[in-house]
Assembly symmetry: C2
Homo-oligomer: 193 residues x 2
């Protein structure tokens, strides 16, 4: 699905069951971080005008989602708070090349893979919760499309920094590593555990 | 005006005359930086939910303005590029206390003072350019209201971190320093030179 090398294990749904509050709080933090990543990329590549316009739109949408998750928490009497993240983002960040145009390609592709994985998981949550919590199922399903679109945006703009074949090869490499990292999971129930 | 301790010298208008392209490019960078500052504050004070919602809105508006300035540049055949900033933002950042709740208050108030100064200067540009470049004059005048509103938002939320009297005293202190810094100016024509 999208560029993902392997689907999420059904064990993840078992891990998050009964931990919806923690999952939603982590989700809010993920949306905030996704906005932060897009903003950092605007600062890093400000001379690429079309990229910056697309990234501005991603920041706007991710912050809108952040506020939507805060609304969901509030409507359920859950308190938003700081929460230790999963190691997923940090482990992916370590795969990014430290310099040169390769760094730009890697930053775009890693951001794109996180969007792809989020997209896949929102889809899973939408199906999984349809019977027990249709309101929340609809909420997650509603986020599916934008995450898929952000994935495509990042992969498309990676091609501004390297030729298409190179981007494709690197995307396959990074997607393999992402699949390994997500398969290893995390001890706590998180959006990317 | 707003919380400003002293108005801009008319010498600034003389400095920027004939350098509209440089001024607009700097303006675009300022809008991007204003969005970045609000985003950094979301990360720093994520447990303050109302503040984060207000900051999300500021990020959205500043990025919208960033894109609007890019549109103005494009419509005039001017190329957006990297540009050395004025020393204004860096000098103001040095006034921010390094720790504790005072740091939060200072960050809010400094952000608020930058919005106030931008607001004042957009107003000046609106009047100054009304005869020679009515389109650009309208553009700057149109940004006046949001900058004034952002100023109020930052000052209001500073009061979440300290009592009103303390915030007022500190605002006066910082506004005095801001007025000194802006009066010293900068060698190059910039939005805050």
């Amino acid at each position: 699905m999208l560029s993902l090398h392997a689907p999420t294990s059904p064990a993840w749904l078992v891990q998050i069951d009964g931990h919806l509050e923690e999952l939603l709080i982590d989700h809010a933090h993920c949306e905030k971080k996704a906005a932060g990543v897009a903003m950092d990329l605007i600062f890093a590549y400000v001379d690429k005008e079309d990229l910056c316009r697309a990234l501005s739109e991603i920041v706007r949408e991710e912050l809108e989602h952040f506020n939507m998750v805060l609304d969901v928490l509030k409507s359920r009497g859950m308190k938003f708070r700081r929460l230790a993240p999963s190691s997923y983002g940090q482990r992916l960040a370590k795969l990014v090349c430290k310099q040169g145009p390769q760094r730009a390609v890697d930053r775009m592709l890693v951001a794109g893979l996180i969007e792809a994985r989020s997209c896949e998981r929102f889809g899973m949550l939408g199906e999984h919760l349809a019977g027990s919590d249709p309101e929340l199922a609809d909420f997650f399903s509603g986020l599916f499309e934008s995450e898929a679109r952000h994935h495509s945006t990042y992969v498309r703009f990676a091609k501004e920094f390297a030729d298409e074949a190179m981007v494709h090869t690197r995307l396959v490499e990074l997607a393999e590593r992402e699949a390994e990292i997500i398969a290893e999971g995390d001890p706590f129930p998180r959006m990317h555990s």
